[in-house]
Amino acid sequence: MHVDPNWLAAFIAAPGVAASLGLLFTGWGLRRSVAWQYRLALIGALINFAVSVPVLLVTQAGNRLVLQMGLYQAPFGITVIADALSGLMLFFTALVAVTTLIYARGTLDDRDRLNFYPLLLLLIMGVNGAFLTGDMFNLYVFFEVLLVGSFALLTLGGQIGQINGGIRYVLLNMLASTFFLAAAGVIYGTAGTLNMAQLAERLPQAPPSVQLLIAGLLMIAFSTKAGLFPLFFWLPASYHTAHPAVTALFGGLLTKLGVYTLFRIYPLLFPELLQEWQGFVFVVAALTMITGIFGAMAVNTMRRVLSFHIISQVGYMIMGLGLAATGNPAMATFGLAAGILYVVHQMLVKTAILMAGGAAELEAGSGSLLRERMMGLRQRAPALAVIFFIAAMSLAGLPPSSGFVSKLWLLQGAIDAGHWAIAAVSLIVSLFTLMSMLRIWQKAFWGYPKAEYQVPSPIATPSRQWLTLAPIAVLLAFSLWIGIFSGPALQWFDTAAAQALDRAGYIQAVSPTNTIEYLGGSYDAK
């Protein structure tokens, strides 16, 4: 099977074109323009999804798709590269994008939601670009693109709480971006290039102190984006304020993008440093898990609890990175594959549970677990209760879901390599996750409705209910599929991890030239 690398442009062009055409309809009167923006956005997201399938299949066969922007050779033009890791991320991002769009159609109030769909697509464009790019500065640019899109989405309602959360979100993320920019400057000053493949060749020759500086700056930047301990404060401050569809999209994609960059950059650029840092990575992973889960036990609103769960789950992914930080190639592949599986599992299940939790909040008119507004949702919305239950059990790691398989794999990797402490922490945190899920279940779904509800629920009509629940069911079906047919699925993640760790293959696929061509000849750069 052959795929023209130019198709990679579709991941940026399709959402971008759909968003830009959607903006043209803003002058048409609110209801009609929102309807057209939705249609265009759905088409854009579906094209994005349709292209991601062949890209996934081709990269799974062990190929890397490389596109040089404007046909300039590697270090001069911007490289766009898709390997199996990017392919998996792109596929599941496209899936999350389509489902979130439909879910948003079911739950959004038309009134002050003008431009929601174009902004959502701009965010997807940024995320796709960051998964694809093979250039450090371009990665920074795409981070900014998605930061702009996410800030606008976060504050779309214009309520005071949203602005408050949005300002914290944007301030802390800008700070992280500044660290990233500083790192990019040091990288360019040291290695004379920002192309990742050429950096993989050149950075290991840099003085150890400079390498340490770059790796440290990047670690601060990416772990803020990923929501790692102790840099996660922006996340629980802002996520619960937005509309449920926005929270679901952010929870499913943004922190995972941070984790992806860690998975991509550290094995590629700092393989030796990563091994030295193994202990540190495990400590960060454990502290992230523990603080996240304690935060989740301490707060009392549905989506705030789930936001803290995002953080504690990121700890597991970083545990995968820690397992990959070893000299033994088989162990490293195994560990990183478990980490990637965990990322995908979270993309599916976190989006699903935030959607379900958001729908429950909308249904009850409140997200508080302390008051009795949410009691008895099991009777009022039985389908929603079933879906939430499946999502919660997958998040807690019960079979036969993807949560079980991914946790099992991580645990096996940790125990095989003899990292008993992190294995114990991950098990205990799993137990607490289950407790926290049961707490939500008990406070929100069980029991009998205490008060008469007079809340006009936005998801009351049957068609809207279908639009709300079907996307969650699709995401959960994928989660169960990974859990039940885990054998073939695990092969995917194995391939992805092997490719991500294969530095020579990456360099060869991009094959950056050291020769500068000019009119009439060429000379070798030092």
Binding site: A13, A19, L21, L23, G27, L67, L71
Partner: protein
């Protein structure tokens, strides 16, 4: 009430700023200039109008075009990149020559891309300026 001399200045300077923007836009390919800076220059002409006429007339005149214009700009920029696939690669440039009497103009997709950038920068900056110069402080937005 807007000042008389500002209105006079507006009459004189706005066309000059717009011509300057067009000049910067066209020279941008090989020399300093381009869509971004031209968009800023054109937006400064609008700011002059806001200062001289007050924000309300300017908002009435331009506000409904701003979002579609940003969308159009993004679309044109992406289109110019997609057209590059005709020559084999996303973002590669296509060039053509247009004979206008004595002058030979080189037109190509990079210019189209710059036009997209111009439209986005212009409309986004103008919407910032309009939002910042809003005068009804009593009402919350």
């Amino acid at each position: 009430m807007p000042e008389l001399y500002l209105r006079l200045l507006d009459r004189v300077l706005t066309p000059i700023l717009l011509v300057l923007a067009a000049y910067l836009f066209l020279r941008g390919h090989n020399e300093p200039g381009g869509g971004f800076i031209a968009g800023l220059a054109a937006a400064s002409a609008i700011q002059l109008q806001i200062l001289s006429l007050g924000d309300e007339p300017v908002r009435r005149r331009y506000a409904r075009f701003l979002h579609p214009m940003a969308g159009l700009g993004l679309f044109i920029a992406l289109l110019s990149a997609i057209l590059g696939i005709l020559r084999g690669g996303y973002f590669s440039s296509l060039w053509g020559k247009v004979q206008l009497g004595e002058v030979e103009l080189e037109l190509g997709t990079p210019l189209l891309f710059d036009l997209g950038v111009f439209l986005i920068v212009f409309s986004v900056i103008v919407s910032f300026l309009l939002a910042l110069s809003r005068q009804d402080e009593g009402k919350t937005p």
